[in-house]
């Protein structure tokens, strides 16, 4: 008989967390079916391991064989991991997948994670994330000055450059804090997940996104565990992970469209807004400056940024005459 394997996987999300959790459940099911039961994935959600942001360390140390999380959470540990999720003014999902699988992205990612005894694979995409819920309309750069916003990570740094005060609020107190003007704005994900937190009840302005145009989750695999698997199971795992990421992108599109329709129907107070051009220009410049600083600090970061920017330029030129041209055309005729 052939050997059977069970891989324990820690996910950053709670149990039955929509879309993200569906992705891992479907993934585990696919792996088991494809391997005819020889490879099983046992998923532990955040309520079990209690360490949503400990997934990196736990997989690295072998406490878990696999993880499902997002690369940019590890920015404080390994700065170069930041670039494998999504970057402000960066590539969209299609372009970014092309970069991963055909533009050298995967190789760069393995180079970064290999040093930490892990392999990382794309693990599902949210699509363009919304720019956040604001209680006041933002009409000029001045309106952003001193604005208190829950916006973590690198995007928070960009916002800080244009005068926003990024603010930490415990997730459990976000709703109360926004409702009572302790903070002025909240960035979360997109309609499907934001709806659950109820921000539409207390904030009227929903801004379009720019800071996470294609948030890619990740599967982490402990390298020793990976090497112990027979080649056919490795291949099954690889295919299942790739399928999972595609499934999640599609699922996000579907769930967000549905949630957005519901918000429009039930909360007519909600208005979609886009930041004025001068704000975008200021944030674009700020982003560029921060990238330059990151590149100066680490050779590896410079290599990744360079790869992404040049790939984006070439890929975008084609997106311009294909996707964008099509959407523009549709906007004209409708």
């Amino acid at each position: 008989a052939q050997d059977k394997f069970t891989l324990r996987m820690a996910e950053t999300w709670g149990p039955n967390f929509p879309i993200f959790g569906d992705t891992t459940k479907q993934f585990a099911e696919n792996v088991e079916k494809m391997s005819d039961g020889r490879l099983r994935i046992r998923i532990d959600s955040a309520n079990k391991h209690k360490a949503p942001l400990g997934v990196f360390d736990m997989v690295k140390a072998g406490q878990y064989d696999m993880g499902h999380s997002a690369s940019y959470y590890w920015k404080g540990k390994v700065p170069e991991t930041l670039f494998f999720t999504s970057m402000p003014f960066g590539m969209n999902a299609m372009e970014q997948y092309a970069w991963f699988y055909h533009g050298g992205g995967m190789e760069l990612m393995q180079e970064v994670y290999g040093k930490h005894n892990m392999l990382s694979f794309p693990g599902g995409n949210t699509g363009v994330q919304m720019g956040g819920w604001f209680r006041k309309e933002i009409k000029s750069l001045d309106d952003l000055k001193g604005l208190k916003m829950r916006i973590p990570g690198f995007a928070g740094e960009v916002f800080a450059e244009v005068g926003v005060n990024p603010t930490n609020i415990a997730p459990g107190e976000l709703y109360t804090a926004l409702e009572r003007n302790t903070i002025d704005a909240v960035e979360w994900v997109g309609p499907a997940l934001d709806l659950r937190l109820g921000f539409q009840q207390i904030a009227d302005y929903y801004y379009t996104g720019w800071h996470e145009p294609a948030t890619e989750l990740q599967f982490l695999v402990n390298k020793r565990v990976w090497e112990k698997l027979p080649q056919d199971l490795q291949e099954i795992l690889r295919i299942a992970m790739r399928t999972a990421s595609y499934d999640m992108l599609v699922h996000s599109q579907h769930a967000n469209a549905e949630a957005w329709a519901n918000i429009k129907k039930d909360y007519p107070n909600v208005q979609i807004k886009r930041f004025p051009d001068d704000i975008f220009q200021a944030m674009y410049n700020a982003n560029k400056k921060l990238l330059k600083e990151a590149a100066a600090e680490s050779e590896m970061a410079a290599k990744i940024i360079d790869s992404q920017l040049s790939y984006q330029e070439q890929s975008r030129a084609y997106s311009d005459i294909s996707e964008r041209a099509y959407l523009n055309t549709m906007a004209e005729v409708e």
Binding site: G14, P15, N16, P18, S45, N47, K48, H49, K50, A51, P52, G54, D57, M58, A61, Q63, N168, I169, A170, G172, E173, Y175, T176, A177, E179, R180, N181, T182, L195, R196, L197, G198, Q200, Q201, I202
Partner: protein, 432 residues
């Protein structure tokens, strides 16, 4: 099955009187090493870290600090005795005042450890000094200190909103009436009990026999205002958005120190002693949390959560049978497991079944929240009971607290039953 045996062993060990926190931790250690090996405990630093980064729990030391300062400066006593005097010759005035102060604290925090301990510090000595029955006094404090779980803002509701995918605002609104009814029934219970047994909660003697009732009320009102103003500042800072609920507890602590200065009760020694008491009691609360997290870690990693899932799958498929049995299961589990575990293990299993039956999820969520509140109070593992015991004088026994809480648990079950049977009284409906 190891998880179940571990519960039994922990229960027996607790009775030996070794500190609760380390009994939990130690029992978990033996079962954990036996079933999974030492390396299971490599997860412990992560779990401790998640408590460290759970900033909502910062309210615990901060509220305790406020309570200790109010107690050391006698301002708490002044607040409660004056409120009690307002009730004149009516017995039970202090208990009712305690419930009202508990309700106010409940509206400013959702952290049970914070409010039970603060209430214990503020009102237990006063009630005992006025010859209240120990059981009545401790039961009142545990019950009103735990109100924070159902009165918004509430952590249970936020977690349930997350697990069930319901907007937090809707849950908060729906919880208001059940909370009010609960507070009302607590007060009614005190009134009825003291009518039947006045000696359990003696009326406050008048300070000055010659004063008219009018003068008495005026004097009482004057004495209430400063400490009440402090509580209003705490609450007000949340309602106006100056501070988050957690931060408001720091305003409470600093405010208490300011009050002490105004009343010439301030000294650096007082603040330092208050800090020492705060550290002592805070450590007691968090040691329990850490011991319990080791315990629940061993429980779930030895398959306890899967076992629970299997049991739940056997619940009946008809609406009323399902609701009633689900409530009983949650109530019974609440004797043993912490509410966060229940929300994350049980609720995801029950939710789709309830949804398929056409049950109104908002109503279902409120039922669960009411039920989980009770889990803090049920012996032997109700955390509120431990917390109060931790700050109570030695002559208040664990058994006093266990017995004292029973009437309040019955009231909660009554309210739960009312919400089940007459959801429309609470502005809800059972189905869509």
């Amino acid at each position: 099955m190891i998880g179940m045996i571990m519960f039994g062993v922990a229960l027996v060990m607790l009775m030996l009187g070794f500190p609760v926190a380390f009994t939990f931790g130690g029992v978990a250690l033996f079962f954990g090493i036996y079933a999974e090996g030492m390396d299971l405990f490599a997860f412990m630093p992560f779990r401790i870290m998640s408590v460290m980064q759970n900033t909502v729990l910062m309210a615990v030391p901060l509220f305790i600090f406020m309570g200790v300062v109010l107690q050391r400066t006698k301002l708490a006593e002044q607040l409660l005795t004056s409120m009690g005097r307002l009730f004149g010759g009516l017995p039970g005035g202090l208990a009712i005042s305690t419930i009202l102060v508990g309700a106010l604290l409940a509206a400013s925090t959702g952290v049970v450890g914070a409010s039970v301990v603060a209430m214990g510090l503020i009102s237990l000595p006063v009630m005992l000094a006025h010859k209240y029955d120990k059981r009545l006094a401790t039961g009142t404090i545990c019950a009103s200190g735990t109100l924070g779980q159902i009165v918004p803002p509430s952590i249970i509701l936020i977690i349930l909103g997350d697990v069930l995918g319901l907007p937090v605002g809707d849950l908060f609104k729906a919880a208001v009436w059940p909370g009010v009814v609960l507070i009302g029934l607590y007060i009614l219970y005190i009134l009825v009990l003291t009518r039947l047994k006045p000696q359990t909660a003696p009326a406050m003697p008048s300070e000055d026999d010659n004063a008219t009732r009018g003068q008495e009320i005026r004097a009482a009102l004057l004495a209430i205002i400063p400490p009440l103003a402090l509580i209003v500042v705490v609450l007000g800072s949340i309602f106006t958005g100056i501070a988050t609920p957690t931060e408001s507890s720091a305003l409470g602590g600093v405010g208490a120190v300011v009050l002490a200065i105004i009343y010439r009760q301030f000294s650096f020694k007082m603040v330092w002693d208050a800090a020492k008491d705060t550290v002592n009691v805070t450590a007691m609360v968090f040691a329990i949390l850490i011991g319990a997290t080791a315990f629940s870690m061993v429980f779930s990693y030895t398959g306890g959560d899967y076992l629970l899932e299997d049991w739940l799958m056997m619940l009946p498929g008809e609406q009323w049978g399902f609701i009633i049995l689900a409530m009983v299961v949650i109530l019974v589990l609440g004797f043993f497991i912490d509410f966060v575990e229940i929300s994350f293990i049980i609720v995801p299993i029950l939710a789709p079944i309830a949804e398929a039956m056409g049950i109104n999820m908002l109503w279902f969520a409120i039922l669960i929240a009411m039920n989980l509140q009770t889990s803090f109070l049920t012996p032997p593992f109700g955390f509120s009971l431990f917390y109060l015991k931790g700050v109570a004088p030695p002559d208040v026994r664990t058994t006093d607290i266990y017995k004292g809480i029973i009437p309040f648990i019955l009231i909660q079950i009554l309210v739960l039953a009312l919400i089940v049977i007459f959801p429309e009284w609470f502005g809800m409906s059972a189905t869509y």
